[in-house]
Point group: D2
Chain length 143, copies 4
């Protein structure tokens, strides 16, 4: 399977449809069924003590899987998250951005499943892992 949207096209999609949050994210790399997304960590993502908040990591995982799906099926607006399971395993490194690495494990007609490892930049041990299921719009031409 080839990419339908490359990093440039995904960035344009993000800026057009997710105006409020687009500048927080940067696509590091994209390949068939794989995508790396960087969260530019700023004050708004932090909890007391300087840790990146759980909701900010959830958002990172969610957007990363969504963009990976779009890279494969094109700019479909109607994919919705139906389930997420996330494990928070370590404290993120202070003052570091986070990178989410997605593997799309399934891209079916009705459902897509991706898993994600989130790491602090420059640190091997993952901060969190997540798996997400998306429901895909029925009208989509077969991919």
């Amino acid at each position: 399977m080839d990419l339908k949207l490359d990093a440039e096209a995904l960035t344009a999609f993000l800026e057009r449809h997710f105006t409020q949050v687009a500048d927080q994210f940067e696509i590091v790399s994209v390949a068939p069924m794989e995508l790396d997304l960087r969260l530019n960590v700023t004050e708004q993502h932090l909890r007391p003590g300087g840790t990146v908040s759980g909701p900010a990591m959830f958002a990172l995982a969610d957007v990363a899987v969504y963009l990976s799906i779009l890279s494969m099926i094109g700019p479909v607006g109607l994919a919705v998250t139906t389930n997420c399971s996330i494990d928070f395993m370590r404290k993120p490194a202070a003052g570091q951005d986070l990178i989410a690495s997605v593997r799309l494990l399934k891209l079916g007609r009705a459902l897509a499943v991706g898993d994600v490892l989130i790491r602090s930049v420059g640190v091997e041990d993952p901060v969190a892992r997540a798996s997400l299921t998306y429901s895909l719009p029925p009208a989509r031409p077969s991919a």
Copy 2:
């Protein structure tokens, strides 16, 4: 088991330690092992199309379970979320606040588990369900 923190004390805790987000949340009711928390939905919580975003619902569930735990064990700062599983089941009603209803299912020495139903105000069918595990600080006096 009795409450160690009532609605007023929990609100004060939220305002002191979670300054940035405290005004988004309102404690509707609290009882032993149960708590209802309201999210005052504003522009910042919405996705394109007017839906409350997944991360906003995750944050609501996370804070609700956290406050329910604190209501039982007192103002411990060190409880951390280790796992969350969340199912997004329906679109929230447009222009409505959300209410998260927590049941604490386990409050052990090391781990606490709560489950949550999230509903739009005035609508019976739940928008989302979540279950969360918190790791509790070891030094806590026996509760």
Copy 3:
């Protein structure tokens, strides 16, 4: 919504289609969007130390939600589990059967979601909680 299959019809379905396991389970009660299922605990379900095994509890939750879905939509053979999240919270009481109590939270065209509390007979505190998603067959007449 009314029941399409009552306890008797569900039991007959189980005996016809799940011959190997049907005698392990007993339908305690069934109502719209709710069902209680009992696992007759025997040697085969136990781990060293006399605890009911995780897979046995997973199977109980899985069958219970499946039967609850069938009670609402009729004897459809093609519903398949797509996701399960399960928390094991306490040791089951020794020598006791288990009862799974299902709430169906969503019964849509394509997906159904149920959550489950598992308790030892006669004990209030739950042994485990689970939530399961089923993918429903597309050809099903609208329910």
Copy 4:
């Protein structure tokens, strides 16, 4: 970190402590923080239609992560599963054994987290993915 138990020692542990199920499983390979476990699929694991049952796959994932933890910390009997999230993504290939590939993502003092891909032998696309959390016994000498 080095292995405390190799494939031979893990097999011996399984045969001693899990007599009933030991002959279903075969350790394919073990390395620090990684383990592959094979399920010898027989009639008892099958659902109507010849598919491996969900509980059988749950059991495979559960045992695989457990053995991977033991390979790192030694033959501790008291690690217990506290959470599992599992996605069933494809039908297993008919008549094929299954292989679970574990990555231990965290091995802390109190909690261990592993994720698992389950594949039919000879098929690249995974049948299921799972992530599991284990609670570790407190008395364990520092590892």
